[in-house]
Subunit: 80 residues, 2 copies
C-alpha cells in the first residue's frame, strides 16, 4: 500500500516561503506569477495492511506528526 | 491559470528528511511505515496567459529556481 500525503498551509495563514519564492520569480522576470503557496508532498510505503486500516493510520500520522493542524491542512491518497 | 508543481527527490538520491520522519513514525508506534520520501508541493497562480505559454513558463521556472534538477525531479499540472 502506498500513501501520498499533501500538507498545505491554511488559506488564511501567511506563507513567507511562498512569498519569498514569488519575489525571486519576479526578479527573474516571471512577472505573471501572482501568488505562490508552498506545501509538503510525502510518499509513504506501508506494509501489507488493508485500505481502511491504512486510512485510519495515515490520518493518525498526519494529526500527530506530519501536519501541524493549527496552521496546516492535509489530504492523502491511497494506492495499491 | 493555476499551476501545481510537485518537486521530488530522485529515486537514487538519499532523502535524510524522509529517513528522519520514518524514524519518528517508528518511534511513535507506526511500525508499518517502510519508506518515506519528502518533496515539495507548490501552487502558483498565474495571470491571464494561455495554456501552452503557461506550460513553457512553468517548465522554465522549475529548471531555473523551483527544482534542483541535479537531485530533484519535477512535474506539474495546469488548471483553469
Amino acid at each position: 500500500m502506498k500513501a501520498t500525503v499533501y500538507v498545505t498551509i491554511k488559506e488564511n495563514v501567511l506563507d513567507p516561503q511562498g512569498t519569498a519564492v514569488q519575489g525571486a520569480l519576479h526578479s527573474m522576470g516571471f512577472a505573471e506569477v501572482e501568488k505562490v503557496r508552498i506545501g509538503k508532498y510525502l510518499e509513504l510505503e506501508l506494509g501489507d495492511i488493508d485500505r481502511s486500516e491504512a486510512e485510519k493510520r495515515i490520518k493518525e500520522m498526519c494529526e500527530k506528526l506530519l501536519a501541524n493542524t493549527v496552521v496546516e491542512d492535509y489530504r492523502f491518497e491511497l494506492e495499491g
